[in-house]
Point group: C2
DNA sequence: CAGTGGTCTAGACCACCCG
DNA sequence: GGGTGGTCTAGACCACTGG
């Protein structure tokens, strides 16, 4: 085992080692990691210790275990995350991925708020994008999205068709950036003039504002996104203990 | 070990056994359970198996472990739960428990919606209560609360002083009912006439509606509560993986 | 059937808390 | 110092998956 903090207990050192492999994409999202036996032999540890390290990563959501099949690097899949906050459905009642219309896409110098959200240093370029998400001609959500240019330079050269309706798969396929986790903040506001027009609402109608920072496996911010949708579609459920 | 499903693996049987002890208050909230060594001897199992069973209960939020001190039955403490959804604070910026004004308290036949929420059977009595929660003279939240009369008969004979600002401690102390978990649903609405008056808002101002069912350690519904507060104070944060 | 993760054991030793 | 939970071991055996 290399370069881990020897003050930590072994299974934590091992966890860090594994987390590094995932961050470096030595172990790639969707793929199986080596068997527990092999890992135990490789690192000269008992299998119980290896299992404990894997337990931690599983609890953190970075790995996924399947009995008899193996342990896999988990691919975060919260592009259905709208459904966590909104009751959007087709008229026939199904859940469907909304269509995305990219309204514009530009490279600009990062405004201060974006610098803060993406933890950028100094004057840097970012990609800014506006999207409208639609189900069956009905506009549901307007989004402003900001990406650090450094990591997403490729993105500007993609065609609309290459991007498709979901951004995270496009980030992964075309920019090598994998979203592993995110942090979201919800508030309620009255809709402003521009959004009212896009969403076909009366000025001042309550909307729910979701600000999300998405992180890679290395915990670096990858994307800052602000989504706004009509509050009358808002619906959220939590279990507390 | 008694009467558990022998098809389950041992640590799951043990988990059920422990859960039962908690539900029966053989092990009481806030108190330590026997040491792992003792439990292993009592049940004739290896300590690792006992630990695994405890792991499960800890993950479920029913137990809490402290190295060197012991393992304790966890007392749910989400009476600060307002703060999970609202940015309420005093003018000086502290978080403070809001004062509670009980506006009325009555015993009635359970309306259908309450029967459903509390999973009651047939025509039964329930206690209904309205509360207004206030910080520094400012009304923040109106609440309607419903309790099954069967479990909370004592509650009607309590004085306002005995009840105090927080209900869950009162349920525990005076009715022997301990809240272990809850399930909440959030939506946004326009305020109605009655609530507008209590909250000093204009009719139709957006409010966040929180419906909560609270459960005991035995998973039986104990309380149904509907809280409404001004949406401009709403603020919620989640981390996703 | 081979290979994977899951369960369970019996015990040694460490780390921490508190009187 | 005595008691608690936490780590780690070495190995046996079970349960599930997929070719």
């Amino acid at each position: 085992m290399i370069a881990n903090d020897p003050r930590l207990v072994r299974y934590q050192q091992l966890r860090d080692e594994f987390a590094l492999k995932i961050a470096n994409q030595d172990w790639r999202p969707g793929e199986a990691i080596p068997a527990q036996d092999d890992l135990a032999k490789t690192y000269g540890l008992a299998i119980g210790t290896v299992r404990k390290a894997i337990d931690v990563l599983v609890a953190e959501g970075m790995l996924e275990r399947f009995q008899g099949r193996g342990t896999f690097v988990r691919r975060a899949k919260f592009d259905g995350s709208l459904f966590r906050f909104f009751r959007f459905q087709t008229r026939s009642g199904e859940r469907k991925i909304p269509t995305s219309h990219i309204l514009n896409r530009e490279t600009v110098e990062a405004p201060p708020s974006v610098i803060a959200a993406l933890r950028l240093k100094g004057r840097v370029k970012v990609i800014h994008m506006s999207r409208l998400r639609v189900i069956e001609e009905e506009p549901l959500l307007v989004e402003d999205i900001w990406l650090p240019y450094e990591k997403f330079a490729n993105f500007m050269s993609l065609s609309i068709e290459q991007i498709g309706d979901l951004l995270y798969p496009a980030y992964e396929e075309h920019c090598g950036q994998v979203v592993a986790s995110a942090s979201e903040t919800l508030t309620v506001e009255g809709v402003n003039h521009a959004d009212a027009k896009q969403l076909r609402l009366r000025l001042g109608t309550p909307i729910v504002v979701i600000e999300r920072v998405a992180f890679g496996y290395d915990q670096e911010p990858l994307e800052w996104r602000c989504s706004r949708g009509p509050a009358n579609h808002f619906y959220y459920h939590v279990d507390i203990r």
